[in-house]
Symmetry: D2
């Protein structure tokens, strides 16, 4: 089969022929229909410092956002059968550490990530633990199903570590409108937020946020976003801020635009440590800051399935490019261009 592999601990990748893998007893073999490109995949391709410290084994196929058809199942797999169309949860949990056993498997103490710690999905086939295969159902378009994983990030950030009871009827700001931010705008709109404020310097992305339903668009390179959010809320601030940029300045601004008692969910990964004014922006305001990573297993997947299968959120504006495996270089260039939403590699795509 074809597989896009890292063959060196340095920049670049190779599309090569390798053997189709065999699933273990509790695994499934999936024929990949689509595998979308994540920001992390750009880093793996370019091989930065963090990737060098994080990835142990080379050569390795990368890519982790995928959907496809079950081709074969291991001996202990009873609830899935060949022919079923599935998407993949990419956090592989051990199932028996304390964190798993208290219902927080997505932050498992022994967490492994598909396509980072295991063989990935930019290939014709991929093997998954059966537990990580989510049945998509026929009401979600197969051509968009690979984005259920990053869409799930947006859903998890929106609901937060609580139940998302602070979204409906409240003002929410989304900082950073890459694909996950774009998705979040759509999710917020569908959950009854009073007003969704999208903050993003890139005009192309701002436009996408508008298509997804943002009520207010702010360009932080032209407008002070803190002042603008306070103005939009009669001085009260946003009840919820979803931080998707990873920009240190934007994180600080997020705390400043937050209402008293508000919630800020942090999903964007800053490059370095971040300086915060805890006194005025957190303690006196009783703000709540929470880290968000991955997707709750599997509450988030059920929410994702509902939002997509009922058409409550239409993700088509975000899916901007599709390429065959052979055109992987164009696909990565499109992803890095700043003028794209989600880019999907489809092994059987023509062109």
């Amino acid at each position: 089969m074809r597989a896009l592999r890292k063959t060196d601990r340095g920049p670049g990748a190779e599309l090569v022929e390798i053997e189709i893998p065999t699933p273990g007893d509790d695994e499934v073999l999936v024929r990949v229909h689509g595998a979308s490109i994540c920001g992390t995949d750009l880093h793996i391709l370019d091989w930065n410092e963090w990737v060098d410290s994080r990835i142990a084994t080379i050569p390795m196929t990368f890519g982790h956002e995928l959907a496809g058809t079950v081709q074969a199942v291991g001996d202990e797999v009873h609830h899935l059968r060949p022919g079923t169309f599935v998407a993949a949860e990419t956090h592989i949990a051990c199932g028996h550490c304390t964190t798993c056993q208290t219902g927080r498997a997505h932050i498992c103490e022994n967490l492994r990530i598909l396509g980072v710690d295991t063989e990935g999905a930019f290939a014709d086939y991929v093997v998954l633990p059966a537990t990580n295969a989510w049945v998509v159902g026929d009401r979600i378009d197969a051509d968009v199903a690979s984005i259920m994983e990053p869409f799930g990030n947006a859903v998890h950030a929106t609901f937060g570590t609580g139940g998302g009871e602070d979204i409906a009827t409240n003002v929410v700001a989304v900082i950073g409108c890459g694909p996950i931010g774009m998705f979040a705008v759509g999710v917020l709109r569908s959950l009854g937020a009073f007003k969704v404020i999208a903050i993003e310097p890139n005009g192309y992305r701002r436009q996408k946020a508008a298509e997804m339903g943002a009520d207010v668009l702010l360009d932080p390179s032209e407008t002070d976003p803190v002042a603008a959010v306070l103005e939009q809320t009669n001085g009260a601030g946003a009840e919820v801020v979803l931080e998707m940029s990873g920009n240190a300045r934007a994180i600080d601004q997020g705390t400043r635009m937050l209402a008293r008692g508000g919630r800020m969910s942090l999903l964007g990964l800053p490059d370095a440590s971040v300086v915060l004014d805890l006194n005025d922006q957190v303690i006196f305001k009783e703000a709540r800051l929470q880290g968000i990573t991955g997707r709750e297993m599997f509450r988030t997947w059920q929410q994702t399935t509902t939002l997509l299968s009922t058409g409550r959120v239409d993700v088509s504006p975000v899916i901007t490019h599709r390429f065959s495996l052979e055109k992987w270089q164009e696909a990565f260039e499109a992803t890095a261009s700043g003028s794209s939403g989600k880019v999907i590699l489809m092994p059987e795509h023509e062109g």
Copy 2:
């Protein structure tokens, strides 16, 4: 009556004679039985930069942690009468802003603080809004009732902005064992925490934490508290960290000793901005950081009353000094000494 007043916008204070004030229609006049000294009062006495920017009107009587006997009530006060012994909630809320109306009056948008924005309690008498007078009940010793206010800070930090459902059966670390930290240790012990770890460089305070029921004492000047907490929890970290020091380094350490999915409540006020490793210590761990200020009105007061009136928490080890109003200078020196718990000014104290 006697009143300890700031008469200049600079260091110092004067004990002077002034008129007994008259309560307004919805206020009560309280004869002060005890008024304890808070860290903020030290700053008001010494008049630092923050105080200079915060306090608008001089001359003013300061002091805000108090208990005493209602002496007179305003025309619109129907549920209190002269002779009732009360403690004071010191956050004066407007009652009609959005924050008040959603049950978060203690972080009111128009918040005023007793003894900071209004005439305070280091005096023979003080006037309170009737709403802020909490009936103490006869099962709490009148001589300790003035500490219900800072004890309430510890209770509020322990329960957090949620319901404190993460205390019972879990490991909790308390960073910084001034009086509020000491109180918190006692509260945690009474609420069924698995293990209470007290972290404090001052040996006198560590000893007090032990008297209040800490299971493990750590001196961060000698032991790496992060390593020690991880060791105490088989590598998992503390489910809850109560940050009471306001020390920037300790706050960073708090995030590092926190378990995946854990909660850190921030009550100590840092002098300046704080640098945090959000990636590894917050986002990937899905940690939750929350600011804590004041006391929930009046859930916290009911919890405080229960804990003190049933003897579940015995605060006597923390109350180390009592002085008459005349000896206010000795009282402030004891408070600043590092070898004291709570110091109470009692107008009718002999000596």
Copy 3:
């Protein structure tokens, strides 16, 4: 002024001339713009047994769902002024009982109800405690503002005693589609419910539920609603059931159509005790049943204001009749007819 008053402890009412009342120090005088008729008002008019035991003082003006313009304010009222358009929270709380002080003022231990325990609003003017006057804002049509009170019932039932975190992306059944049930359908639609199933035997009301956005309409006199809900949910049952009928059989059915771990909010008042199969329908399923009354003060009002002022819920299909005070008899007949939504008495209405 004109006032529709109960003058006897029996059926009937009289429209009479009485003095315009004077507000007390913490009260406001409101010129009534609209006062809508509640099911309770029908009972007060007809004077059933429950009403006879509940109402202490006659003569009394009744009516409690109102909106109007502040005409005068008492001496202690500082945040409202003549000319402001307000709606009325009808639960008058004492503010100092344990229940009030823990943020549950709407179920105050000393609760009084406007127009039941005090002079009501079917009149040209009414006096309210200032605390109970909610500023409507100019984005809500004055002609619908009197229904904010019953709409708030629907909002409170939908969010439940928790945060409504179980609505978005889940299936919800509404049993009983009188005006509050109709409102609830609209609220659920706006909060991202996956599917809203409306259960109601009256065809007129079913049609209104459809207009408000119900996905599935069930007539329980023709279809077994339990079987139908299970079929609609692939056997899983509804995650949330809102019981608005007060019908004993329907309440039992509600428990049977509820999913494992689901929530049933009970707002409809049954005439008598109700028989439930606790074993199979509550205990083994870990169902949660919760009573709902009134509106949370004032979280529900803020949610109500958002939903109405942004147009997320359009209540116009529910408001079916308007009458002048003189035509009060026609108004009550329309309310009792079964072919009406909300009926509003408007003192200045022509005809």
Copy 4:
């Protein structure tokens, strides 16, 4: 090996010799150290109507509360090894239904119960799914470990379907003090309840509740428990009621002794439908009633482990009898006598 088996669909059981079973790939074989007798086991022995409809396959070994030593593990079991001492979660979940995947595996849609739907533990050996084997740790006495399962019922009822945030500092009533009620009293005491009121007609059991730390003992055959609880709470009622009796009258009384906004957790299984006054006792009070079954997997097990391993709860007063397998008849008589706490069958017990 020896096994106590139902060999007929009628009263009685036989202690017989059968083959030691072999664990499947994801199962473990456990050598039973102790297996305690549950009320359900009495019903299985006596074979009532419910049992006849519930149990499909005979002959079958019964008994489900157990602890013992892993003797052998299946091929796919990697985190357990022979020699480990484990207790058993008795709810066997499918792991892939909607309910399991949203973290409510203990109420799985395809739930099977050990010793009811599968071969049980009144025997020398039993086979468990590896997932259901909980490592006990050496700080819990092996001789009490079989009661972790029913103790877990008490823990789950106490924490409720929320986080148990309503226990600390509040009044809690326990209705019915069989072994689970006795355990619940101990758990409540350790979690900081203000006052624990135990309601139980049997004097022996009331005495055990006292030994476990109840503050107030009520005999409902002599005292009106509703009036008594209201008196103990100055008329406010209990914030939490744990219903462990399954008695229809007691359930009704439970709703009447509940505070406004309070929580009643229902664990006791009534024989028939129950009549409730929903209007006054649930709806107007906004009471919350919730079913409780089994134990949350595995939050409850971690809480149980903490409470027992730290000595916060001492269960020794509740464990009143131990018998060898041969004396199973005496053991069942002791269980049924009303003068026992928990009775444990220990295969290697002498006598």
